[in-house]
Structures are given as C-alpha cells and as structure tokens.
C-alpha cells in the first residue's frame, strides 16, 4: 500500500489562505466548513539587554493543515460506525456519509481539527486528498493553487526522502499521537510541538 501525504513549507508560507479557498471552491464548502485550515501561530515579548535597553522577539508563522491521513488516525479509532475509514489502496482517510451518524466523536478525537461537521447534511465531512484528481494524475487543488509553492503532495516515502521527516512544529501536536503522513519544513521562528511561548491567534478562523 502506498501512503499518500502532504508537505508544508512553513518557511515559505505567507498565510495567504489561497489553499483554503481553492479547497472550498473545488469542494463547494459552505461557511464554517474548512477542509484546509491555516493556523497562525504567534508570540514573543520584551527582552532586557545588559545595558538596560529593551528588544522584542515577536514572531509569527503559518501552518497550513488539512487532514494528515495519519498512519494511526484518532478519528477512525473513535468512529462508532466505521464510516470514518482509511482506504486500503492509498491510505487516505475518508468518511462514508451514507453510514455516518453525525455524532461528532471523530471531531473530538482528531488533534488536527480535520473532521468538519456539515450542518446541512448532518454528517461529518473532511479532506479526501482530492482522490478524484489524484486518480487523473493531478495534485490536490490546494497544492496547485499555492502561489508560494509551499505545498506538495504524494507518496509519503518520496516526500520524506525529498524533504526530511519533521512533523513536530507548534501548534501541531506531538506526531507520536497519530503518526501523521505529513512533512514540515521549519522556518527560522519555528517552535517545537508542545511550545507554550506562542498561541494560535486566528482561533475564530480555524
């Protein structure tokens, strides 16, 4: 089985959210449903120098996250119906909306906020890795829309060979929890997972 996954270059990302909007457009998502979310992580304070002058170390960076199609997904483990499942052939985690009961337990369990409740259909929805596009040999719409070329998608082995294995950057959780199929590139301000010096500042957006 190949496992497909995402690469996110947090050094390049400017937080423009074109990926998020392209995803909404392609998948016709209403307000309140974001299959891809851009978390803005920021912090910093004043530091006192030896000579009594002050200097700030304010930082901000962006992590664009959809679903990481984890090797050990918390959502499928939680799901009481099996509607949330991992596809055999490409490892994508998708939800069968004909089986889902809309209990929202997957939403509670996923540490990346990937499962999104569709209030009209009363069932869960989430990033499906644009598997229809992938089958046509294209990349997911978020990847192709990125003006900074900060995103990539493909078999996770190839992504790891090309970009490394980093996946533990704040505000994302420790990758040992779900083993996400995700490779990150750290920017110069990147903080490790579990960092408490900053916080997500666009909470109403994600």
């Amino acid at each position: 089985m190949t496992q497909l996954g995402f690469y996110v270059d947090t050094a390049k990302c400017t937080g423009c959210k074109t990926c998020q909007l392209a995803c909404k457009d392609e998948n016709d998502l209403t307000v309140g449903i974001n299959w891809r979310r851009v978390y803005e992580y920021a912090g910093g304070s004043w530091l006192c120098n030896d000579d009594g002058t002050y200097q700030q170390n304010v930082f901000a960076y962006y992590t664009s996250i959809s679903c990481n199609h984890c090797a050990k997904p918390a959502c499928t483990k939680a799901c009481p119906t099996g509607a949330m499942h991992k596809r055999e052939k490409d490892g994508l985690v998708v939800v069968n909306q004909d089986v889902c009961v809309g209990c929202r337990y997957c939403e509670m369990a996923c540490p990346y906020g990937a499962p999104q409740f569709n209030a009209q259909k009363k069932v869960m929805s989430k990033c499906d890795g644009c598997f229809d596009r992938v089958e046509q040999g294209k990349k997911p719409i978020c990847i192709e829309s990125c003006p900074l070329r900060a995103l990539d998608f493909g078999p996770i082995d190839e992504l790891r060979a090309k970009y490394g294995t980093e996946a533990d950057i704040a505000p994302l959780p420790d990758s040992s929890l779900t083993e996400p199929s995700l490779v990150l590139k750290a920017g110069r301000n990147a903080k490790p997972s579990g960092d408490r010096t900053g916080r997500i500042i666009n909470t109403r957006e994600v």
Binding site: V99, C100, V101, R104, L177
Partner: protein
Amino acid sequence: MHELPLVFFTVLAQGTVGLFLVLASLLLFNQKPERKRVLSRFMWLVLALLGIAGALAMTHLGQPLRALNVVFGLEHFSPLSLEIATTGLFGGAVFVYAAMTRFDILAKLHKLVLAGAMGLGVMLVLAIANVYTLATVPTWDSFWTVFQFVLTAFVVGLPMAALVLRAGATGLGVYQKNTDRALATLGFIALGVALAAYPLYVFWLGQVDASLLSRFDYHATLILTRGALLSAGLGLWIIAATRGNNTSVVVSAVSTVLVLVAEVCGRIFFYDTHMLAL
C-alpha cells in the same frame, strides 16, 4: 454548545446508575418480602430515567435514524460504541430484574441478576469515562475525568435515592428513616470529597494549559455556581436528615434538583475544557 444533549445524558445516566446502586445494595442485603416488593418496584423508575437519558443522547446525533450503525464500531472497540452497548446491557439487566420480581419468575436467581446489573452499572460509568479519556485531548485524558464521572453518580444518586424512598417507601417505616440517615451520611462524605477535590482539578487544568481558564469569561461563575448549588443542595438534605427530618419529600426534591443543576453546570465546564493538543 452542541454537546448540551451529552451534558444531560452523562449527568442523568451517571445519577441513575448511582440511584440503582443504592436500591440494589438495599435489595441485595434484604430478607423481608415486603421490603423487596416495595424496593424492586423502583426499578421501573430507574429504567424510565435511563430511557430519558438515552433519548437525550440520541438528539445529539445528526442522523438519529441511523443510530443502529453504531454496532459496526464494536468491531474496532470504538469507545462510543462500547458506551452505547453498555447502556443497552445495563438497561436490559435492570429490565430483566424488574420483570422477574414483578411476575415472580425464578426467585432464586433474583439476586444473581441483580448483582450482574450492579456490575454493568459500574461498567457503564467507566465506559462513559472511557469515551472522554482520549490521548489526543490533554485536558480530558486523565484520572480526573473518571473521578468526576464517578463522583456524579454519588452526588446525584444519593439524594435521588433518598427522594425516591421518601416518596414511595414510607410504608417501610423505620427502615426508610434509617436508610435515609445512612444515605445522608454517605452524602456528607461525597460532598466533602467533591469540595476538596474540585479546586485540585482546576489547579491541574491550569497546569495543562494556563490560557484555558481565561478563554471563556463565564467559567469562573460556572465553577462557583456549581460549588454553591452542590453545597446548598446536599447540605439542605444532609442537615435536615441528620437532625431527624427523614420524611419531607419537598426537602429531598429541592435537594435533588439543586444537585442536578450543579452537576449540569460542572459538566458544561467539562465539555468547554475540550482542547486539541494543537
């Protein structure tokens, strides 16, 4: 908040298990047929309360008509499927016991079925806690979740049991009065544990994430309201009961309502503390 049906379900289900365990303990160590007749009648009330709790939980589903799909999750031990299955098994066992005693079927097996139902009741409280102790939710993945859910079974179950006995078992005379006093003593201990442990829980939450407690401006009010209502509710009944008033239905009813509201406040706070490790 969309979890409100779950707030009511968890509080009511835990309280009902508490009520059942009190009644079942009395039945288990009882030899007199008259007491057994009166006490086992209350099992229908336990079933009704459990039914209401279950119906409330159903309203949380986006697609309640597909509810039976939850059996598929048993295959991979989904905590939610296990919780729902345990609720069903517990309700089934209570029903079997109620029916057996009502129609006097296989009298020698009554206590065995009752003990089985007690075991399932305890398992139900633990199964509910198991749903929320998720490794990916640091504020829930702790002993405090189990502790709170077990405590609810006590602080709701005890005054509810006293109320039920005052309302429907006064015919048992001094037995009802003595039971009421014993329940009040247990209630006093439960209140002490609740009041001592809750500040520790809130301190612990602050350790997990210092910003958590300032995220909602009504949280301080919610926590204090819970403490005040719990103390007032249990206190009213305990003080009256230990001073000799073991029959007033009104006092017990007011107590039970106050405690239920207190636990609902506490549970709303619990659901609000949901945070992603993110």
